[in-house]
Amino acid sequence: MTKQRSGGLGPQNSTAYRLKKEYLGRGAVTVCGILIILLTLSIGIFLLVKGTGTFTKYHHSVWEFLFSADWSPMDRADQGGGTVGAAIYICGTFLTCGLALLIAAPFSLAAAVFMTEISPKTGSRLFQPAVEIFVGIPSVVYGWIGLTVLVPFIRDVFGAKMGGFSVLAAGIVLAVMIFPTITTVSADAIRSVPWDYRNAAYGMGSTRWQVIYHIVFPAARPGIFTGIILGLSRAVGEALAVAMVIGKTRAFPANLLSPTNNLTAAIAADMGNSADGGEHNLALWSMALLLFSFSMLFIFIIHRISRKGRDRDKA
């Protein structure tokens, strides 16, 4: 490479040759890369412009949007005067995702340990592919199964009042959806813990569980956290499956068996019908902006974790 660039003679250095072998490919890749960056940026700017309309055009306070539960925006172009408190939706998002994480994380970690440490052969031959297939199942399928199996089950077994549509149903559906994400990323992290660590621990007389618990887990922690946050961000952004089982009731849930609503389901339910540029419409855009900021936050955290992990490895 360096030799060619240093400018010797011969056909390899003709402009046409270099154009074909070097610039064309590089140019295409650069253009595509820049396009993607521009696309991401413009989505961000678009959301920022649309999403701040609630506060600039209709003069609602951010405080009201985030913490008030009073939601009755006007649905007419260029007419304000309603209220845009989205606290119920925000709370619904946190509750369902938190519950999903509580359910999925232990199972995912156990599965990751099983397929890497306990039974690596079955793990790589059977378990890993199975989990990867799970990732590819469209969310509507999860939602549908949730609606036809889980929701009636919750109604009949727990006697949920609103027909089984509940925080619990949404949490379980989300948990199943994020389980493969957390599992695969954690498994990769555990696999990448150097064997020397384990051997050293075994050499000192540790049992396998002691090795897993005291050596492998701490060493793989950044990767495991990354997996959990990736799972969380998938849960936060999931609309369809949640919308089908959460009930979409505009109230804080009294308990796990009560229905509520969340950000994504509320946006999906009203985006097509609300008047463009109206208070309702812009409030939905603000909710979209909020979701966007959540995912930015998650990405930021992941970067922090991986940088910390690198720093520690160097030390």
Binding site: R76, G163, T249, N261, A269, G272, N273, S274, A275, H280
Partner: protein, 308 residues
Amino acid sequence: MKKFVTLLLGVTMSLGLVACGGTPAAQTSSQPSAAGSTPTAQAASQSKVTGSVTASGSSALLPLVQVAAEDFMNKNPDCSVTVNGGGSGTGLKNVAEGAVDIGNSDVFAEEKLDATTASGLVDHKVCTVTMAAVVNKSLGVDNLTTQQITDIFTGKITNWKDVGGPNLDIMLVTRPTSSGTRALFKTWALNGVEEASNSALETDDSGTLMETVESNEGAIGYVALSYLVKDTKVQAVSIDGVAPTLENTYNGTYKVWGYEHMYTKGDGSEAAQAFIQYMMSDEFASNIEAMGYGASSKLSDTAVNSHK
């Protein structure tokens, strides 16, 4: 690389073709386009229409427009009609921007657009849609008064025993606040009183709603009559003793109905006009009724006047 360039060229060219196809080459031959919303233009559907028509909007109207589009294209093989959903707000916005030829809406354009934009659109009341409250078959309730139904949907009455049913909690299944169906039900069934959203399940999908009502004994919701034509798994509720039927809608005794609108920007392209005329023609009216919608032309004066 060559392949890539070829591909790129191909894509550009096909895009160009699509764009060209989009320009309405509507030539309804000698037809002097019976403009306006007169449903008498039978002739328009006999002469061949060419060009393309795009429509988007109301999901309540979508099934009917899709059937109409198919019939229309069979009769006019040189005309293509593309119909999308998206909701009334989207349909109105699209037609106002000129992105589609026809915007389908459950509500008047004035309710969703600002006055200047709305004034540029022409309203075609292609049909009516009748809403019926539905309950579970095993509940044993098939009639409610307006007052009872209002109290139920505003959360004042929470048990069926208060309206003559069994001792069972009422489970409300309603629509999102921006829904045209909800607005219609609020105006004509609940006397304009806002529903209690904090104790109701919400869904914009009538299929899901029917499913929920069917599988929960205490559930009550409301759907368009078009969903009750084939499906008798739920019980339609009479209001003040009047059953939700097309007949009662036409003669003006059942009042929970509204117009379904198709908006064009100005008079619209000739192909779009021809399509709307076909939808409002007597020829298509039987299809409208078979699908559970009402033909605007059959409304009695009592009915028309009650909804002015």
